[in-house]
């Protein structure tokens, strides 16, 4: 493996450090000074941003970056014949991530200054956000699965801590625990996958495994003895399980909507732009492994699993998003849905399209979240403003879109940037970034389904197309309910545009949400392709792998179809919600769908199902079986039994002690005393008595020695 000089790898290795140091400084020293806290945090991300930009712009100038990545490896833990290594690796995929992550993060950090102003735990927020940023950057520059997993888990922790940031709210800490537990399921499987891969190959380095045809072939040909899969397929599926948890795919998607309990910048950064895409990033990263498995034992099972989970999640989450009233929850479902798109793309082999969508999605989804945060912020302040005059009445939910309306005139910047983000999400043709990336995914599926006639791409295409219509619909619904028509509450009527620190990131991100897609315009697209100079993104990221995938040539049919799909969804939304804006108190027109609406609104009852199947039995097990039977009956019984045994043994010994031991001791004493008492009478103190005894004694002896022999002599 040839590498690029020494300066760039060093810079790449330094990228995660500034936020990490900022985390330490804020947590240890700066937590009393708000201004210092956010200055440190933003400064650190800015440094990382500058480093990343240097690395990125140098990286894209390198010819064949895939073969000659910017890399640095340091032996770290000498275990077994090959030491575990730490190192950095910036290949094309890593480079585009390095472009996106610090940029979006920097915007969100700046935005947070405005959004979190006045929060008592301001410094804690920035400390955790910095730690999160460090972990994400570590994950991006990592050159092996172990480092990636470290970043992955630290992010998991930060996500937990930030979802539960307002931990005094029961719903917030419940959501935090839910997120943590749900992702844990995936993480454990992922760790298994990592261990399995290490056991099979003796290395975790991406370059050693993924760019080494012999290793890949060996992995693909070794049976794993599980469901007839090859080692490669099993390992990639185990790693994919981690992605399912982290990127909130079915069946582990339930935590992401609840994660919206966290502050909005957190939702934007962690639960839309970066952390959840880390799952997709990992799957794209391990794509060669997945691909290797295809030709080995078990065939394309792994591809089927990935593609169907992705496509199904995309569709399912889109349907759930249609019936939500919470502005952030709609976005949460759209995030799940879009992540599903990416994974479906990986599953049909279009990993470049997935990476493209990952990048554009990060921009417009961060934009949408920050926009919704701006709206919530404004409505909340409007509510306080209105409340001062009318007094606080019933509980008010500033996230509920039915409490909004007519905000377009009151918050024009937020409105227009939100529309930009929304159109990008819906894939509005030609002028939004989302169109180009989504079009590439749909185009690949279309190509596979109709040009090659394969079944899997057809299924994926149908599910994704349906999801795309729904995406357009709920995006329009959201825009209409939030911004159009007349205010439905006092709070909305009193809403004001947010401060500059919140508006500027929106504008900046909106720029990328619109123009970010032009790096990936398909070759041969009329007019535009010539204008922006071909499909740069595909050529660049495609170089990540050994086999460069062919970029699909432009064909009008898929583009036409995906444009039609996006526009039909938007048009449907427009017809239902925007043509005649809802008045205050009017029910959702969707409610006319009856049971279907309830089904969607209750998220297909999946949460309830999990509650019944996993949570309640677990609680039952904890309360009844463990707490009562195990703890109180078995363990307590055992302990009490031992205690009772020891107690009675002690009593017996005590009796023995009192009766026998004390008896002997006291008895000897008493006997001596009694003897003394009796014998003392002999001591009269009268000298003549003593003398008498002496005389009698002598007489006795005389008798003994003189008279007795004489008597014997007779």
């Amino acid at each position: 493996m040839e590498t690029q000089g020494t300066i760039l790898p060093l810079l790449a290795a330094l990228i995660p450090w500034p936020p990490f140091i900022a985390f330490g400084l804020i947590a240890l020293f700066a937590n009393r000074w708000k201004r210092l806290s956010h200055t440190l945090a933003i400064l650190s991300v800015a440094i990382s941003f500058v480093l990343s930009q240097i690395v990125f712009w140098n990286a894209i100038r390198v010819e064949h970056l895939g073969e000659h990545p910017i890399a640095l490896r340091i032996p770290w833990l000498p275990v077994g014949p090959r030491p575990l290594e730490f190192g950095v690796l910036v290949d094309p995929l890593g480079a585009v991530m390095l472009f996106m992550v610090p940029l979006v993060s920097l915007m969100i950090f700046i935005y947070s200054v405005g959004y979190m102003a006045g929060d008592p735990d301001y410094s804690r927020f920035f400390a955790l956000l910095s730690l999160f940023e460090a972990a994400m950057l570590l994950l991006v520059v990592a050159d092996n699965l172990l480092m990636l997993f470290i970043g992955w888990e630290v992010m998991g922790f930060c996500s937990y801590a930030l979802i539960g940031f307002w931990y005094r709210k029961p719903s917030a800490y419940r959501a935090a625990v839910k997120a943590f537990m749900t992702t844990r399921v995936g993480d454990v499987l992922m760790l298994l996958g990592i261990a399995y891969l290490y056991a099979q190959t003796g290395t975790l380095n991406f370059h050693d495994i993924l760019r080494n045809p012999e290793t890949l072939r060996a992995l693909a040909e070794t049976p794993s003895y599980v469901a007839g899969l090859s080692v490669a397929a099993l390992a990639s599926l185990l790693l994919f399980a981690g992605t399912v948890g982290k990127s909130a795919q079915f069946p582990l998607h339930v935590w992401l909507p609840d994660a919206m309990e966290g502050p909005t910048p957190v939702s934007a950064m962690i639960h839309a732009a970066t952390m959840v895409s880390a799952g997709v990033y990992t799957t794209i990263r391990m794509f060669p492994l997945l691909q290797a498995g295809q030709h080995g034992l078990g065939g394309a099972t792994a591809f089927w699993v990935v593609a169907l989970i992705g496509a199904f999640t995309a569709f399912m989450a889109a349907t759930m998003g249609v019936a939500q009233n919470d502005i952030k929850r709609v976005l949460a479902y759209s995030t799940i849905s879009q992540l599903g798109y990416m994974l479906a793309a990986v599953g049909i082999g279009a990993y470049v399209a997935a990476a493209f969508h990952l990048i554009t999605h990060a921009f417009f989804k961060a934009l949408l979240f920050l926009g919704s945060g701006s709206v919530i912020h404004a409505v909340e302040h409007g509510h306080h403003h209105a409340g001062h005059r009318h007094g606080h009445g019933e509980p008010f939910d500033p996230n509920d879109m039915f409490n909004m309306g007519g905000l377009a005139r009151r918050m024009p910047v937020t409105f227009w940037t939100f529309v930009a983000g929304g159109l990008a999400l819906a894939g509005f043709p030609l002028i939004t970034a989302g169109f180009w990336s989504k079009d590439e995914i749909l185009g690949e599926a279309f190509h596979g389904a109709f040009d090659k006639g394969e079944l899997l791409p057809l299924l994926v295409f149908l599910l994704l197309a349906a999801a795309a219509v729904l995406t357009g619909f709920y995006t329009m619904r959201q825009i209409a309910l939030t911004f159009l028509g007349e205010p439905r509450t006092e709070a909305a009527a009193h809403a004001k545009e947010s401060p500059a620190s919140m508006i500027l990131p929106l504008v900046f991100l909106a720029f990328f949400a619109i123009f970010g897609g032009y790096v990936g315009v398909p070759d041969g697209f009329p007019l535009l392709s010539a204008l922006v100079g071909g499909n740069w993104f595909h050529a660049f990221v495609g170089g990540t792998l050994l086999e460069h995938p062919e970029a699909l040539p432009f064909s009008p049919a898929p583009v036409f179809v995906s444009s039609l799909i996006a526009l039909s969804g938007l048009a449907l939304g427009w017809l239902v919600y925007a043509r005649r804006p809802l008045a205050a108190g009017e029910p959702d027109p969707l409610a006319r769908l009856g049971p279907v609406y309830d089904f969607l609104r209750n998220r297909w009852y999946i949460d309830d199902l999990y509650h019944r199947v996993f949570v309640r039995p677990t609680l039952w097990l904890a309360e009844r079986a463990v707490a009562f039977f195990m703890d109180r009956v078995l363990i307590d019984g055992l302990l009490h039994g031992v205690a009772d045994g020891v107690w009675s043994m002690g009593s017996a010994l005590r009796l023995f002690d009192r009766v026998v031991v004390n008896g002997i001791g006291d008895g000897i004493g008493e006997a001596v005393k009694a003897a003394g008492r009796e014998l003392r009478t002999l001591q009269t103190g009268l000298v003549q008595n003593y003398l008498l005894v002496v005389v009698l004694g002598i007489l006795g002896f005389i008798v003994l020695y003189t008279v007795a022999p004489m008597v014997r002599g007779f």
Partner: protein, 102 residues
């Protein structure tokens, strides 16, 4: 010549009188005197044995002289003790001197 047996009889008689005096008298001084009697009885028997059995050896006489010396010192020590007791308890009656009673 008077036979040895007579001397021994006199000595025995003297000794018995002494023993009786020691055991029966109450006056401490009288007891002391009775002890002197017993000592002299022994002296008498010692001298008699020397004269009749080993007239050439001087052991008997020397023994008698030692007894005299001891008797003198005993009398001195005894009397001083009695005086000391009398000063403390104003009595020389041994019935009343029972400080060592158990």
């Amino acid at each position: 010549m008077v036979p040895l047996t007579w001397y021994l009889l006199v000595a025995t008689a003297l000794f018995c009188i002494g023993v009786y005096g020691v055991l029966a008298r109450r006056n401490a001084i009288a007891i002391l005197m009775a002890i002197e009697l017993m000592l002299n009885a022994v002296n008498l028997s010692l001298v008699a044995f020397w004269r009749y059995l080993h007239p050439t050896a001087t052991t008997g006489q020397a023994f008698a002289l030692f007894v005299l010396v001891v008797a003198a010192s005993e009398a001195a020590a005894g009397l001083s003790l009695i005086i000391s007791i009398y000063r403390n308890r104003e009595t020389v009656d041994v019935e009343n001197i029972d400080l060592l009673k158990g």
